[in-house]
C-alpha cells in the first residue's frame, strides 16, 4: 500500500532534480571544458605539493596547509561535479573525472586529511565538511561516479572514518545520513553496484562489512526527519537486497539490523503512555488523529510501519529473521505481559494499542506473526485470545476496546482467526441435532429467516417512529412508491430494512426499474467484484470429525467467543448504547461470512440445535421480551423512545454530512461485507469521539423544543455523548435508575435496527451463495465443505 509509493517516491527523488537545480545555479560559471581541466589540474598541483611534504605533523604552517588543501579540494570537487562525458565518447568518464581517477585524487586528499585526526583538533568540523563535500559530489555529479573503484574506495574510507570515536553531533549525524541516503538513491538506479560496497572480511572468520548499511542502522529509531531519512535509505537498501543473495545473507547473518528493529519496538513500546486519556464515553479505538498527537506513539507507529515496509521489500532471509525477532523479541516478552497487566487502565491501553497495530500492518508475514502470537501463545496458562475473549464480558470501556479489537481481527478475513474463534466449535456439528446436519447447507431462498428476525421487533418499538426520510424503494410495482407509501407508513415505521437502500444509492434510476434489474446492473458496475467462487482451501470437506455416532456431551458450546457475545447480547438492555453498537456490529460482521456453518448457526432460524446450545434466535427472543416488559413498566416509554431516535438520527446525519471518509477501513475488500451498508453502529460511531459532534446533535434535537431540562439529568457522565433522557414526570431519579432507563431506551432503538440488519444479511446470503458454493445440491456432501477462505 502506502509503502510502495514511499519507495518509488524515494527512488525518483535525488540526483535527478538536484542536477537541474545545480545546473541552473552553475550555468553562469560554465566555462569551456579545456579551461576547466586546466584550472582543475592547477588546483591539484598545488594540493600535491602540500601532500608530498612529510605529513601534517610539522606544527608551523600546518594549519595553513590544512586550510589550503581544504579550499583547493572544495574548488576541485565543485568542478568535478560539473564534469561530464565528452560527446565523442558518451560512455567514458569526463576529462576531469578521468584525471581524478588516474591520480586517485579523492583517496589521497582524504587520507592526508584523516592523518590530522590523530592530532585531535577540529576533527568533528572537518568530518562534517568532508561528508558535505562528498554528498554534494555524489548527488550533483552528472555522471555515474559510483561505477569507478577509486571513488568507491574514497567513500568507504570516509564511511569507515565515521565509525571512529568522534563525539557525535547533530551536524555530523545529519551529514552522514544525508550522504548515505544519497548513495542509496544512486544505488537504487544501478543495483548491480551494491555488491561492490560489500567488503570482504578483513581476516578469515571475521564478518564482511557493508558500511553503507551498518552506518545507517543506529539511526533507525530516531525521531524526526533524520530518522525518516535513515529509514527511507534503509528501505531502499532492503529493496536492493531482495535481488542480491550476498547482501541478503549479510544483513541476516552479519548485521544487527533485525534485532535492532525488533528490540527497538520493545523499547519504544515501553515508553508509551500506560493509560489513555479517553476523549468521550464512546471512545473505543485509537484513530490516526488520536495518536498523531502522542509523540511516543507516533514514533512507535513509524517504526512499526517501517518493519512492515522492510518485510514487504526485503530479501526472504531478512524477512523471516525480522518476523521471528518481532515475535520473540517484542510480542512475547513485551506485548504479552502488557496485555496481562492487572490494572484495568493498562489493559484498556494495551488492548487499544494492539488493535491499532493490527489495523496498521499489512504484510501477510507480519500479520501472521501477530496472529500466531494472539491465537497460540500462552501467557501463563491461557492463550492471549482466551484472555481477550473473556474481556468482552467485562464492563464498559474494556469491553468496548476488546470488541473493537475483535472487529479488526474479523476484518482481516483470516481463516485461522475465524477457525479459532468460532468454526472449530462448529465443525464437529455437535451443536445441531443429528437429523439436522444436512440442513447446514440449506440456503434460505424465500426470506423465511428474514421474516423470523423481523417478527422479533417488539410491538412497542413499531409505532410513533419519527422515521428518517424513507429511502424511496425501487419498487417493481408500476405505480412506483407513491401509491404504497401512504398506506404502509403507518404499519411499518421506518420503512425498509436497513440494507435495501444500499442497492439503490450507486445507480442512477431513470424511472423505477425493478430491484432485480438494479441488482444486476450493480453487479455489472462492480465488475470483477462479483463474488468469485471461493476455492475451498482446507479440505475440511473430507475431514470434519465425522461423528455421527458420537454423542455430544451435554454442555456443548459454540465456543467461548460466541458464548460471551451471546451473553452480552442477552444483556443488551443494560449495555451502553456504544457497547451495543459495537456488539451488534460484530455479530452482523460474523453473520456476513458466507460460510455455511456460521451462516446456519447464526441465521438459519429453522435449525434445531441441541437443547444445551443457545441460538441467536433465542437470545434475541429474550431481549425482545425484556424490552417489552420494560416498555410496559415505563409509562412514558413512547416519548423516551422517540427522543432517543431523534437524537441518534440527528447524529447519524451529521456523520453522513461529513462524508464516509473516516474510520478504520478494512484492508481487504470483502465483497459481501463491503456491499453491506455500514451497520447503524458503524454509522453512528463514525467520528463519534468528537464531543462537539455530540453536542451539535443534541442541539439539533433540542432546538425546536428548547426543553433543556432533559439535558442535564441522567446517568451520562459530563460531556457524555448520549444525552440523558428527560426525567419521568419531573421527579428526580436516582442516577443509577436514570442510567438504567437510558440504556434500555437506546437499546429499544438499536434492537429493531439490528433485527432488520440480520434480516437483510440473510436475504443477501440467498442471493450470493449460489455463486459461492460451487457444489452440487444432490448427494450427501458433508456439511462443511465449501469452507474456503472465508470471504468471496
Amino acid at each position: 500500500m502506502e509503502r510502495m509509493n514511499w519507495l518509488s517516491r524515494l527512488a525518483s527523488r535525488g540526483p535527478g532534480h538536484r542536477v537541474t537545480q545545480g545546473a541552473s545555479l552553475q550555468t553562469p560559471v560554465v566555462a569551456d571544458p579545456e579551461t576547466c581541466l586546466m584550472v582543475f589540474k592547477n588546483h591539484w598541483s598545488q594540493v600535491v605539493r602540500i601532500l608530498e611534504r612529510q605529513g601534517p605533523r610539522v606544527a608551523p604552517g600546518g594549519a595553513d596547509d590544512l586550510s589550503a588543501v581544504r579550499n583547493h579540494t572544495y574548488q576541485m570537487l565543485t568542478l568535478l561535479a560539473e564534469d561530464h562525458a565528452v560527446p565523442s565518447a558518451p560512455n567514458a568518464p569526463g576529462p576531469l573525472l578521468e584525471f581524478a581517477l588516474h591520480e586517485d585524487l579523492l583517496s589521497r586528499v582524504l587520507a592526508w586529511q584523516l592523518q590530522w585526526d590523530e592530532l585531535g583538533d577540529g576533527v568533528e568540523e572537518r568530518r562534517a565538511e568532508q561528508l558535505k563535500l562528498f554528498e554534494m559530489l555524489v548527488s550533483e555529479s552528472r555522471q555515474p561516479l559510483l561505477r569507478h573503484g577509486p571513488v568507491r574506495e574514497a567513500l568507504l574510507t570516509l564511511l569507515d572514518a565515521c565509525g571512529r570515536p568522534v563525539p557525535s553531533s547533530p551536524a555530523l549525524d545529519d551529514g552522514l545520513v544525508l550522504l548515505l541516503s544519497q548513495l542509496c538513491v544512486c544505488l537504487a538506479r544501478e543495483p548491480s553496484l551494491l555488491e561492490f560496497f560489500l567488503q570482504p572480511p578483513p581476516e578469515p572468520g571475521a564478518a564482511p562489512r557493508l558500511l553503507l548499511f551498518s552506518r545507517l542502522v543506529p539511526f533507525v529509531h530516531r525521531e524526526g526527519t533524520l530518522g525518516q531519512q535513515a529509514r527511507d535509505a534503509l528501505l531502499l537498501l532492503m529493496a536492493l537486497s531482495a535481488g542480491s543473495p550476498t547482501v541478503g545473507r549479510y544483513i541476516a547473518d552479519h548485521s544487527y539490523f533485525c534485532p535492532v528493529l525488533a528490540t527497538g519496538l520493545s523499547a519504544l513500546y515501553s515508553s508509551l503512555p500506560r493509560k489513555i486519556e479517553v476523549p468521550g464515553d464512546d471512545w473505543h479505538c485509537l484513530r490516526r488523529e488520536d495518536w498523531l498527537g502522542v509523540p511516543a506513539l507516533a514514533l512507535f507507529m513509524s517504526s512499526l510501519e517501517f518493519c512492515n515496509a522492510v518485510i514487504q521489500v526485503a530479501h526472504p532471509l531478512v524477512q523471516k529473521q525480522l518476523v521471528d525477532y518481532i515475535h520473540n523479541g517484542f510480542l512475547v516478552p513485551v506485548m504479552g505481559p502488557a496485555l496481562h497487566k492487572t490494572s484495568v487502565e493498562e489493559m484498556i491501553a494495551s488492548t487499544a494499542y494492539l488493535e491499532l497495530f493490527l489495523r496498521s500492518i499489512s504484510e501477510p508475514a507480519l500479520l501472521r506473526t501477530f496472529l500466531r502470537f494472539l491465537l497460540l501463545h500462552r501467557h501463563d496458562t491461557h492463550t492471549i485470545l482466551d484472555t481477550l475473549v473473556a474481556r468482552i464480558g467485562s464492563n464498559s470501556r474494556l469491553c468496548m476496546v476488546s470488541l473493537s479489537l475483535f472487529r479488526t481481527l474479523l476484518n482481516l478475513s483470516c481463516e485461522d482467526v475465524l477457525l479459532q474463534l468460532v468454526l472449530r466449535y462448529l465443525v464437529p456439528c455437535n451443536h445441531v441435532m443429528l437429523s439436522q446436519k444436512p440442513a447446514v447447507r440449506d440456503v434460505d431462498l424465500y426470506g423465511r429467516a428474514a421474516d423470523k428476525f423481523l417478527s422479533l421487533i417488539p410491538r412497542c418499538c413499531r409505532h410513533c417512529a419519527p422515521s428518517p426520510p424513507r429511502p424511496e424503494h425501487a419498487s417493481w410495482a408500476r405505480g412506483g412508491p407513491s401509491r404504497e407509501s401512504g398506506r404502509r407508513e403507518d404499519i411499518t415505521g421506518p420503512g425498509s430494512p436497513s440494507v435495501d437502500s444500499s442497492s439503490v444509492v450507486t445507480v442512477p434510476r431513470p424511472s423505477t426499474p425493478s430491484r432485480l434489474a438494479l441488482f444486476l446492473r450493480q453487479q455489472s458496475l462492480g465488475g470483477s467484484e462479483s463474488p468469485a467462487p471461493a476455492p475451498r482451501s482446507p479440505g475440511l470437506a473430507s475431514s470434519p470429525a465425522s461423528s455421527p455416532g458420537r454423542r455430544p456431551s451435554p454442555a456443548e458450546e459454540p465456543g467461548p467467543f460466541m458464548a460471551v457475545l451471546f451473553a452480552k447480547l442477552e444483556n443488551m438492555l443494560q449495555n451502553s448504547v456504544y457497547v451495543n453498537f459495537l456488539l451488534t456490529g460484530l455479530v452482523a460482521q460474523l453473520a456476513c461470512h458466507p460460510q455455511p456453518l456460521l451462516r446456519s448457526f447464526l441465521l438459519n432460524t429453522n435449525m434445531v440445535f441441541q437443547p444445551s446450545v443457545k441460538s441467536l434466535l433465542q437470545v434475541l427472543g429474550s431481549v425482545k421480551n425484556k424490552i417489552e416488559s420494560f416498555a410496559a413498566s415505563q409509562e412514558d416509554f413512547p416519548a423516551l423512545l422517540s427522543k432517543a431516535k431523534k437524537y441518534l438520527i440527528a447524529r447519524g446525519k451529521l456523520d453522513w454530512a461529513e462524508g464516509p471518509a473516516a474510520g478504520p477501513t478494512p484492508r481487504r475488500s470483502d465483497s459481501l461485507v463491503k456491499s453491506r451498508r455500514p451497520s447503524l453502529g458503524e454509522l453512528l460511531l463514525r467520528h463519534a469521539h468528537s464531543p462537539t459532534r455530540a453536542r451539535q446533535a443534541v442541539q439539533l434535537v433540542h432546538q425546536p423544543g428548547r426543553d433543556s431540562t432533559g439535558l442535564g439529568l441522567g446517568g451520562g457522565s459530563p460531556g457524555a455523548s448520549t444525552p440523558a433522557l428527560p426525567p419521568r414526570g419531573g421527579a428526580t431519579e436516582r442516577p443509577g435508575e436514570a442510567l438504567r432507563v437510558k440504556n434500555a431506551v437506546y437499546c429499544a432503538v438499536i434492537f429493531p435496527e439490528f433485527l432488520k440488519e440480520l434480516a437483510a444479511i440473510s436475504q443477501a446470503h440467498a442471493v450470493t451463495s449460489p455463486f459461492l458454493l460451487d457444489t452440487s445440491e444432490e448427494g450427501n456432501v458433508p456439511p462443511v465443505s465449501g469452507f474456503g477462505p472465508l470471504n468471496p
Partner: protein, 335 residues
C-alpha cells in the same frame, strides 16, 4: 452503454462446443435507451458472452423433470395480456407446506413481503445464471421482477437453427402459487405450444410447484428440452401431435416453416415495450464489430479476475484438511 450488458459480457460463460454444430452466426441486438448493444454468438469453442446461461448437459441428465406431465386440456384462450403485476397489496406468503413454526405474517414484518419476493427472485435468477443452460439467454424486465425476457437457440435436431423469443411470467405469490408461465413471442409449431397464445405447457412438468424443490431454471431447462425430445401426450396443439405421430415428414416441413417464420420476424420490435426486452437487429459492423471483438477478447479475463479476487479474498495459514490454525508450512501468505 447499458452496464448490464457490459457485465454479462465480462462474465463469459462457456458455450458447449458441441452445441454449435450447424448454426450460423447469430446476432443479437439488445436495444436499450442508450443505443443498441450487440453480441454475437461466436463459432464453436468460444466463450459466449452476453447473458449465456449455458451449461453442457448430456441429454441423460435432462430427464429429471419429465414424465409426470398430466393431461391438461388444450387451452385455446389467448393469453396475451400483460402479466399480472404484483399489487401493492402485500403478497402474503403463506407457506403451503406445513412448516414448523411458521411465523405470523401479520404485523410489521408482513410489510416486507415484497422484499422477500424480490429477494427470492434475485436468488432464483442467480441460480439460473449458475446453470448455464446451453443456448438459453434470459434477462429480467426493467419494470418488473416478475417478468423475464428470454431467447432460446436450438442447435440441432428437428428445430435446428430456431431462434425463439419468449417471456416468463412469474406469479406474484411466488413461490407459493402456480408454476411460472412461459410464452413464446411467436407460437412455434410444436405439440406442447398453444398455437394461438404461444404458451408452452409448463404445467405438465410442474404439476404442483413446490418451493425449495422447483426452481425457475428448471422451467427454462424444460423449455429447451421440448425442442429436442418431442412429447405428444395430451398436446396443446393436437394437430402438431397427430402429424408428428402420423406423418413426420409433413411435421418436419411445418417445423421448418415455423423456424423460418420466427427467423423472418426476428428483427421485429419486442412484443413488450421494456428497456430490457431482447431485440435483434441486422449485423451492423460499425456497432457490432467492436462489441464482438470485445467479447472475444474477454475470454481470458475471468481467470485473471479470478486470481485477483482470490488474492484479496483473505488470509489463511490453515493446512487443507486441518482445523489447526497455522498448520500450513511456513509463509505462504495469501490464499
Amino acid at each position: 452503454m447499458n452496464p448490464f450488458w457490459s457485465m454479462s459480457a465480462s462474465s463469459g460463460r462457456k458455450v458447449g462446443p458441441g452445441d454449435d454444430d450447424g448454426c450460423g452466426q447469430d446476432t443479437i441486438c439488445i436495444r436499450d435507451r442508450g443505443g443498441p448493444v450487440t453480441f454475437t454468438r461466436p463459432p464453436s469453442g468460444f466463450s459466449s458472452p452476453g447473458f449465456p446461461l449455458e451449461k453442457q448437459r448430456s441429454d441423460g441428465e435432462e430427464k429429471t423433470a419429465t414424465g409426470d406431465g398430466k393431461a391438461s386440456p388444450p387451452r385455446t384462450a389467448p393469453k396475451k395480456q400483460l402479466p399480472s403485476i404484483p399489487k401493492n397489496a402485500l403478497p402474503i406468503s403463506k407457506p403451503t407446506s406445513p412448516a414448523p413454526a411458521a411465523p405470523p405474517t401479520n404485523g410489521t414484518h408482513a410489510a416486507y413481503g415484497p422484499f422477500y419476493l424480490e429477494y427470492s427472485l434475485l436468488a432464483e435468477f442467480t441460480l439460473l445464471v449458475k446453470q448455464k443452460l446451453p443456448g438459453v439467454y434470459v434477462q429480467p424486465s426493467y419494470h418488473s421482477a416478475l417478468v423475464w425476457f428470454g431467447v432460446i437457440f436450438i442447435r440441432h435436431g428437428l428445430y435446428q437453427d430456431g431462434v425463439f423469443k419468449f417471456t416468463v411470467y412469474i406469479p406474484d405469490n411466488y413461490p407459493d402459487g402456480d408454476c411460472p408461465r412461459l410464452v413464446f413471442d411467436i407460437p412455434v409449431f410444436h405439440p406442447l405450444v398453444d398455437p394461438s397464445s404461444g404458451e408452452l405447457d409448463v404445467k405438465r412438468a410442474f404439476a404442483k410447484w413446490r418451493r425449495n424443490h422447483n426452481h425457475i431454471w428448471q422451467v427454462l431447462m424444460y423449455a429447451r428440452r421440448v425442442f429436442y425430445k418431442i412429447d405428444t401426450a395430451s398436446p396443446l396443439h393436437p394437430e402438431a401431435a397427430v402429424l408428428y405421430e402420423k406423418d413426420v415428414h409433413l411435421f418436419k416441413s411445418k417445423v421448418v416453416d415455423s423456424v423460418k417464420l420466427c427467423t423472418a420476424r426476428l428483427f421485429e420490435q419486442p412484443k413488450i415495450e421494456d428497456p430490457y426486452a431482447i431485440s435483434f437487429s441486422p449485423w451492423n459492423p460499425s456497432i457490432h464489430d467492436e462489441a464482438r471483438e470485445k467479447m472475444l477478447t474477454q475470454k481470458k479475463k475471468p481467470e485473471e479476475q479470478h486470481n485477483k479476487s482470490v488474492h484479496v479474498a483473505g488470509l489463511s495459514w490453515v493446512k487443507p484438511g486441518s482445523v489447526q490454525p497455522f498448520s500450513k508450512e511456513e509463509k505462504t501468505g495469501t490464499t
